[in-house]
Amino acid sequence: MKLEDKKRVLREMVLARRFEERCYQAYIERKIGGFLHLYPGQEACCFGVMEAARPGHDYVITGYRDHVHAIKCGSDPKEVMAELYGKETGSSKGRGGSMHIFDVKHRFMGGYALVGGPFPLAAGIGKGIQLKGGDEISICFLGDAANNQGTFHETLNMAALYKLPCLFICENNQYGIGTAIDRSTAVLDQFKRVCGYNIESAQCDGQDLDVVYEHARKAVDYVRSGKGPYFLELMTYRYRGHSMSDSRAYRTREEEELWKQRDPIFIVRDRLIDAKALTMDEFTHMEKDIDDYIENEVVKFAEESPEPNVADLEKYVLAD
């Protein structure tokens, strides 16, 4: 990745981090309701893969930890925040919430809240691409725990059988809600599980943007060239709990600290500083700029937007 691109991505990653941290604050203030699954710690996964893909052109689908994926596909952070606030100006007009961000014009096909639910939907999008003859690919981001659903196996079988242009990204953060992977899953290396379906796969460090990017480039090229599906496992960690009501009693503070030493943002930042493409001052300014933008534009927009009209309760149930 070129230094200038990396610098741009660093800014995007900081925005993603600050956005999520601001969501946390708004949740505590009870501005955001329901469930809230935050992304800090995993940023290199989404950004590394999407830098190798074509955001807004390739289709992306994911689970409920979806804010950052939507923004990387091209969603306006203001609309995503407004959705979390349940406002009419939100991505899904306040009908979806945190777990159901949609932005179809940017080909972000949604966040879904049934673990493993998006697998077959991603394959279907791949089938649609195959029928229509486009050069898009279908990218499905899910966590390791989704691989214990039947949809994982049913989908991988069909994706391989029909040679669908699907890239399955497994963000292995090692916990399914509050259960560690070694307590829920017989095979710890997720990429090994897809061998049984004759699907190309790889595993790599999910904290290092450069590593993710290089692996994703290979995977994206493979899928786009029509060779069929690919499964890429990224080893990562979520700093926060699964959702908000999570005491993190299932893991140690030491483990958390260990992972924070390999923070995906700091890895990029330090590499840019080493390459003399960035100074610490610049980075501090960048953070300040982003905080100002989030506060003065993103949160302000969400706060000031109107709520949906109750008279429209039954709008969007049926089309006809």
Binding site: R95, D103, P120, L121, I129, L131, T155, N157, L318
Partner: protein
Amino acid sequence: MAEMMYWEGIQRAHDEEMARDPLVICMGEDIGVAGGTYKATKGLYEKYGPLRVIDTPISENGFSGLAIGASFIGVRPIVEIMSVNFAWLAMDQMFNSAAKVRYMSGGQLTAPVVFRSPGGTAHQLGAQHSARMEKVFMGIAGLRVVTPSNPKQAYGLLKSAIRSDDPVFINEHELMYNMKGEVPDEEYFHPLEGSEIARAGTDVTLFGYNISVHWCLKAAEILAKQYDISAEVVDLYSLAPLDRAGIKKSVSKTHRAVIAEEDEAPVGVGAEVIAIINEECFFELDAAPVRVHAALVPQPYNHKLEMAAIPDHEDVVNAVLKMFGKA
């Protein structure tokens, strides 16, 4: 107007729509090379090829989800689920993805998928191949449910379902695929909402859908000939939404209602129709509405037990006679 079989009407709808639009596809177990368990996709594999006539693995939830995903970007899949009993496995994708996506995306996405599946008691198929489940589907927001009672409806409802931007579940019946009936020669689109009067009458309304329309028609004939009772038969081909106006209109004319369903009574079509009657025209009633329905048992294998578990036209006749104090 040509006579054709129920399955031929379904096959014709597939063929016409697939010929018109290259993004109409069909998929399911054994529908391609094998031609379909009920012949509903006969000849399509040869005509449209394996990319559009897709033999799926036995993975109902998986291939239903695949169809839904494809529909997000403009594909119009027609999914055959070999038996409605297998559709239980696909309910996650049908309900959580197809039915809800339009709402939870604020109208950005819609899932124009057609799911077709036969249910009902055929010939000693046992507990896990004989169930009905229309009552489950008709309570899901965002899903349309229709159920054809004759070849014309089988053809016309599928045509309309394929063109609809909503997900549509078509409830068929294993015993009806070889039923013959008139189907228009020209292209015909049956409305997805409403009901139709299958036989006009003045003394009592018999509500049926799918196979039970035929019990009602037979019962109406017996009631007219042997008991001088004029029964109106209303065909509820749309179960979601139910035709409130049609139900009200007929009951306001006859003042009596019997609802016949092959399904078990709790939480079913009969219960729902009676609730609508209560809400729309309670004071028009001259007698309490009655349900004719299956026993609440897993469908037994033994033929005598099987027949005892489900109703038929005689049960409809008896319900009417009891209502008129003649039994």
